[in-house]
Symmetry: C2
Subunit: 363 residues, 2 copies
């Protein structure tokens, strides 16, 4: 569980580890998505337990007419990480993704970057890992039926996480776009999960122990109203994640015990942006550390108002860094100038130091 240390000599190399999209897919093939999600969930748990050691700030967001570009930095005394992530709901109209991401893990003592990774896929894995980790503390005992509202890019990862970590055996799907449901069902046909397609939101929540809402419209929508949801259920609400974008009726939030990652960020971005700034919420790290209660009885309605927090990305990058170091399943890119005499950067310009080698791929 401890990070493999890079020596100063390692840092003197101009190369840092790089996990490309292809490499990430290959790692998933090698280890399975379920195993990676479990590993990331363990690392998130470790980092939530040492929550107080981290520098925490709301993300930096550059809003434009079409969407938002965000930087999500965090770190402790050992490592620093940041993720670059965009959110552009109209991208899909031209065949581009709503969300893409990449991230970097760095060494705090030297300030040197250690690893660059694609994070479009890794974010899907870590979001699923977070949802399932949280549900371990909040979902009703022996939950077996999951309702999945919204069958977009995140949906299959969410379902696999709940299967692997919670033991979910039955999944009900609903999306306003029927082709999204069939896409999701088709993708999971070899994963030993019973899948049922539903024709509306009332039908999909009926009998579910856990309800996940994961829709993408950048607007205040009401995917779930209070009258649709019985007591005793756990709602994993992860689609409300920026100002002006929510999924749950305010009455539903008021009825429930609401759990969040980092309150200052969730007040701005989460479903609780609909409530007053003093509405009661519980940060999940307290529950994981045992200093506050999670679910206390079978009739309690719990909501995880998940928006995604930088520490989860730190955990995911930390996990991947350890994983690939042990396996050599990474490339290297030459990102850091490495003059022999650090005060002689200009000396690198001497032609004898320049080789015109291409990018150095490693296994």
């Amino acid at each position: 569980m401890v990070l493999i240390m890079k020596t100063v000599d390692d840092l003197k190399s101009p190369n840092i580890s790089f996990i490309s999209v292809t490499q990430m897919l290959s790692l998933i093939q090698t280890y399975s998505a379920g195993m990676l999600i479990e590993g990331i969930a363990e690392h998130i748990k470790e980092d939530f337990i040492r929550w107080d050691d981290f520098d925490k700030s709301p993300r930096f967001a550059a809003h434009s007419q079409e969407g938002v570009i965000e930087l999500m930095p965090t770190g402790n005394s050992d490592k620093f990480s940041f993720k670059y992530v965009n959110g552009h709901p109209k991208n899909t109209k031209v065949g581009l993704q709503t969300v893409t991401a990449f991230g970097v893990l760095s060494d705090v003592a030297s300030g040197y970057p250690l690893m660059l990774s694609e994070m479009t896929i890794l974010t899907a894995l870590r979001t699923a890992a977070t949802s399932a980790l949280v549900a371990e503390y909040l979902a009703p005992k022996n939950s077996s039926i999951l309702a999945m509202i919204g069958c977009g890019a995140q949906s299959e990862f969410q379902i696999l996480a709940f299967k692997h970590i919670l033991g979910i055996t039955h999944v009900k799907l609903y999306d306003i776009d029927p082709s999204a449901m069939t896409k999701c069902a088709d993708n999971l046909k070899n994963y030993d999960i019973n899948i049922e397609l539903c024709s509306n939101a009332h039908e999909v929540v009926c009998g579910a122990h856990i309800i996940t809402t994961c829709t993408a419209d950048k607007k205040n929508a009401t995917i779930l109203t209070s009258d649709m949801v019985s007591d005793g259920v756990h709602i994993n609400a992860i689609g409300g994640d920026c100002p002006g974008k929510t999924e749950l009726e305010d009455k539903l939030l008021e009825r429930a015990t609401v759990f969040v990652e980092y309150e200052p960020q969730t007040r701005i971005e989460g479903d609780i942006q609909q409530l007053t700034s003093t509405s009661p919420v519980i940060e999940m790290h307290h529950v994981i550390r045992g200093t506050k209660a999670g679910r206390t009885n079978d009739n309690q309605l719990t909501i995880f108002d998940g928006v995604g927090f930088a520490i989860e990305d730190y955990s995911a990058l930390r996990y991947m860094y350890n994983l690939v170091k042990n396996t050599n399943q990474f490339q290297q890119i030459e990102l850091v100038a490495s003059p022999e005499n650090p005060r002689n950067l200009f000396g690198l310009l001497d032609s004898s130091n320049i080789n015109h080698a291409d990018c150095k791929g490693v296994a």
Copy 2:
């Protein structure tokens, strides 16, 4: 001067442009450091002229015992950029650099990253370009003698910029470490500049038209006192660049007309952190746009309190992006997952989509 547009089809490729350290050195070999500095200076000038179009914020800084890791984001309606940069003065003791950096240029409309570049070398080029661009407006007419205090990693780049953009012919060097001076002189021996080594700060400033201070200690130091400097000189003070790190005596600042990049950041990081928060300063974009005066007479003492601002990095990345697009002198890295159906990210996990190709180097 207009950015080459990427089409949506280009964005659908998982590859983004990558300028490695080797590639940056190779570009300098092809075009010369002087030409790249001039090109970057032109782009900084263009972007300072459209200053009001940019989102501006002080940089994000994560301080640790050993140093600082910073993210410097900015953008306008067209492009977004950020730079990752560290500052760790003790790194040189173990053979690592004080400052390393890399950066990304992105497309605002889609949120997709376009280019990743090393910026350890590029930052040296853009810092030199900024200093010389500013001096075009502030240095005495027909300046020919430059005093360079501090002969570290930045010094040669600074000197080349002043030669190419200001026409400096004679450079006096001083550093408390004599080997740094000989390193600098040796690196520039083929660049047609008269170089003179000095044995103290009084000697180096004598007769100079422009004085550059570029020292690296992370502390409040007094490299130049007021009595050492005559009227009519321009001081390019670029070594004071974080809280607690300054180079100039306060009396010297009070005597001069002080110019800055972005006042809110320089109040925190620049030499003017020693003065009250209402001490008069002029932002350089006003001078470049002609809405405020630069140097107004031959006896004026001018100081550029340069700390480095995100727009300069944006300009440098924009310049490099255009340059490499025209020349094919870049690599590609596969950073952005690119599913055929953007809602079917999970579909990428299908083994038939995974090829185990190594990093794809281009030219």
